[in-house]
């Protein structure tokens, strides 16, 4: 173990955390929606991609304010999420085989969104500048990072902590936890379940849209973006435990760091190692490393 650790430099760690941070913002929404609604949202990666494109359009064509663009990116995706949930997923909750139908519907949206993005923006990649206030470099232990990369890591920690407080300390959070553990009981106690579902779907979508917008300056934005991240997000929630917030966080950082140090050991190792970790978790701890909502 120490031999392996000797190869892991500070820069690998920082890059790993930054990769993990944006994966967290996708995975946490995916996990939250599954934990409460029982819906495995295949379109979550596509939502992330929309967040990035919206931020791009806002900064390039509407108003040159990065922070506004990030918020608008998150909100726009939240609204799209609500429309999809209310319009196409809600009618399927009561179906006998509803889960499979939901999966197919959300997969359908992956294709629709992918083609829509290609139609509107074309298939060439775009790049987005980091906000001017963070457009400088920081040297840590002999390596150079853009300040923005470090900011994204901080942002992910802030989101994690806020979400934690929100779920464990607020009234709405208690409704979410209650409904996730027993939907019928919550409904009988007067919780408006359909509306809660929509609110949670909004929150999950908002978070991934925010992630897409925040990550835009760190990567190229192209229609391939959604497909790239959704697989990673699935691996993360399987490792962390479907429905678990802390699981999504730890899983995301774990996969991020693996992706960062992987290239040094084996070609394509960064792709293979997370899958391997997922296989091991499925074999020995199929419920994931962490428990349910609020854990």
């Amino acid at each position: 173990m120490t031999a392996v650790l000797a190869f892991v430099s500070v820069s690998d760690l920082v890059i790993g955390l930054s990769l993990g941070s944006r994966l967290f913002l996708i995975a946490v929404g995916l996990s939250l929606i599954f934990g409460v609604l029982g819906v495995l949202n295949f379109a979550h990666g596509a939502f992330y991609m929309i967040g990035a494109y919206v931020a791009l359009v806002v900064t390039n064509q509407v108003v040159d304010n990065f922070w506004l663009a990030v918020i608008v990116g998150g909100l726009a995706v939240g609204v799209i999420g609500v429309l999809i949930e209310v319009g196409t997923i809600r009618p399927l909750y009561e179906r006998l085989d509803g889960e499979l139908d939901q999966l197919i519907v959300t997969f359908g949206f992956v294709l629709v969104i992918h083609e829509a993005v290609r139609f509107i923006w074309g298939s060439q990649p775009y790049s987005m500048d980091a906000p001017a206030s963070l457009a400088f470099s920081v040297g840590i232990a002999g390596s150079t990072f853009s300040a923005y990369r470090l900011f994204v890591i901080v942002a992910a920690f802030v989101v994690m902590i806020s979400l934690w407080i929100f779920i464990t300390r607020t009234y709405f959070g208690s409704l979410v936890r209650g409904t996730s553990s027993d939907r019928e009981m919550a409904s009988m106690l007067g919780v408006d379940v359909p509306r809660l579902y929509t609110a949670v779907f909004f929150l999950g979508s908002f978070l991934t849209g925010l992630g897409g917008a925040l990550a835009a300056p760190l990567q190229s934005v192209s229609p391939a973006l959604g497909d790239q991240v959704i697989i990673d997000a699935f691996i993360i929630v399987v490792i962390g435990g479907l429905g678990s917030l802390s699981g999504a966080f730890v899983g995301a950082m774990f996969v991020g760091i693996l992706q960062s140090i992987g290239p040094q050991f084996i070609a394509a190792g960064h792709i293979a190692i997370p899958f391997l970790a997922m296989v091991l978790v499925l074999l020995f701890r199929p419920e994931g490393l962490f428990g349910g909502i609020g854990e």
Binding site: P125, T144, S222, P263, A268
Partner: protein, 437 residues
């Protein structure tokens, strides 16, 4: 044929509809769907060989490398205009039908089949991706259709089938630009002159990335360049964040890096490498065919003072032919021509010369004419080697310099090398790699 099938298939009622064209069209539009419509269109457009010359252009027109298709289109459009304004080919009007390969071999093969069967093309040209080209070569032979490759650079494309396990060269496939072999022969010579011992690579995760590194090493050894090879990274195509790979290379602390990253992948990489301090820490970066990406990209992404290569340089050779082409191109498009534009431009002139010399568009006559043919174009004078069908176009390396007049990066101190197949074969003699030159 179509109407009976469709009508029987749908409602079995032939009497009502069979004799009316109008009804048939309405019917097809209304519901028989894409299959019927496509077949219908295919019948109308197909197989007309009587008049005019039709050539099929196959490039990447969408996705991360769509700039290659856009550049090629400018090149062949210019040639098309010039040729048709001057009496066409043998007095016949020339038409080019362009198709998008989407950098995918299966798509490319489908498009080729459609160009041959539905559009009845007389010849094909283009191809950007080595992977696609390798899959297409056997198909060109099977369909007995001449294919003039203008960009894809794998040496195995012109290395005759059987020479190496990956070789796919055959009588129908030609290449009018230089390949990885010429490019890496030049790169090894650049490396020899630099004060850099340890070398690394970061390239795309497919044949082109691996072959670039293999041939760079083989030529360095073959030419006796005293350098070491320390690290290699192969991120997937369309990687959106190169940081882990950049960090892995920086950790290895090489003196020089050669990178064949291309298209938008290269511009993405450059931005991220720059903010990770790449150009402060690594003395020399060699951008293999970097000029093809730099010229069409926004804001001249290649850093000045680094080394880059190209398959054609707008200022080399300083010949009348090249200067005229460059000036015409700049006037038309307000930018310097890239190698992909020049390759596509020249492909049309090659077909013109071959068809006029052969007096026919017969495929077998054409390939006989191409084989061993001497030609000259903006890139200079060259010959198609009869053994390989590869043009003797040299590798071209230089130092990236910003040019005020053209408001873009150009290559300075340009060195050309390796236009002789014997020279390349000798340098590779100690390795098991074919030259395909």
């Amino acid at each position: 044929m179509i109407d009976t099938t469709v009508e029987y298939g749908i409602d079995g009622n032939t009497e009502k509809r069979s004799n009316s064209d109008f009804d048939r069209r309405t019917f097809l539009k209304a519901g028989a769907g894409g299959v019927g419509l496509t077949a219908f269109a295919g019948c109308l457009g197909g197989g007309d060989d009587g008049e005019g010359i039709t050539l099929g252009a196959m490039y990447i027109f969408s996705g991360f490398a769509s700039l290659y298709g856009d550049e090629a289109e400018r090149g062949y459009e210019l040639a098309l205009e010039e040729i048709n304004d001057n009496g066409g080919i043998d007095g016949q009007e020339v038409e080019v039908i362009a198709r998008d390969t989407e950098s995918d071999a299966d798509t490319a093969i489908r498009q080729m089949t459609s160009l041959i069967e539905e559009d009845g093309v007389d010849g094909l040209f283009g191809l950007d991706s080595s992977g696609v080209a390798q899959a297409m070569a056997p198909q060109a032979e099977q369909n007995q259709m001449p294919l003039m490759v203008t960009h894809a650079a794998t040496p195995f494309l012109t290395s005759p089938e059987g020479e190496h396990e990956n070789s796919v060269g055959n009588d129908y496939v030609f290449r009018n630009c230089n390949s990885i072999v010429h490019d890496m022969y030049g790169a090894a010579q650049v490396a020899a002159e630099l004060d850099a011992i340890e070398w690394a690579t970061v390239g795309p995760d497919y044949a082109f990335g691996y072959e670039t590194w293999d041939y760079f090493q083989a030529f360095s050894e073959g030419l006796g360049v005293d350098i070491e090879f320390t690290a290699e990274q192969y991120p997937a195509l369309e990687t959106s964040d190169y940081s882990p790979y950049i960090s892995a290379i920086l950790d290895a602390e090489p003196d020089g890096v050669i990178t064949p990253l291309w298209g938008a992948d290269l511009t993405t990489f450059l931005g991220q490498a720059d903010s990770a301090g790449w150009f402060d820490e690594i003395e020399y970066t060699l951008f293999s065919v970097g000029m093809g990406t730099d010229l069409p990209a926004d804001g001249d992404p290649l850093p000045e003072g680094q080394y880059a290569s190209t398959r054609y340089d707008p200022f080399v050779p300083d010949s009348e032919e090249n200067n005229t082409f460059r000036d015409t191109y700049v006037e038309e498009y307000d930018t310097l021509p890239t190698y992909n534009a020049e390759g596509a431009y020249r492909a049309l002139y090659l077909y013109k010369e071959a068809i006029e010399e052969a007096g026919s568009t017969d495929a077998d006559t054409l390939i006989e004419t191409f084989s061993g043919m001497e030609h000259s174009g903006p890139v200079g004078e060259y010959t198609f080697n009869e053994e390989t069908n590869q043009a003797t176009v040299p590798g071209i390396w230089g130092v990236v310099t910003y040019d005020e007049e053209y408001e873009s990066n150009v290559l300075d101190s340009v060195e050309v090398s390796g236009d002789s197949p014997e020279e390349l074969n000798d340098a590779l003699a100690g390795s098991d790699l074919p030259s395909g030159a």
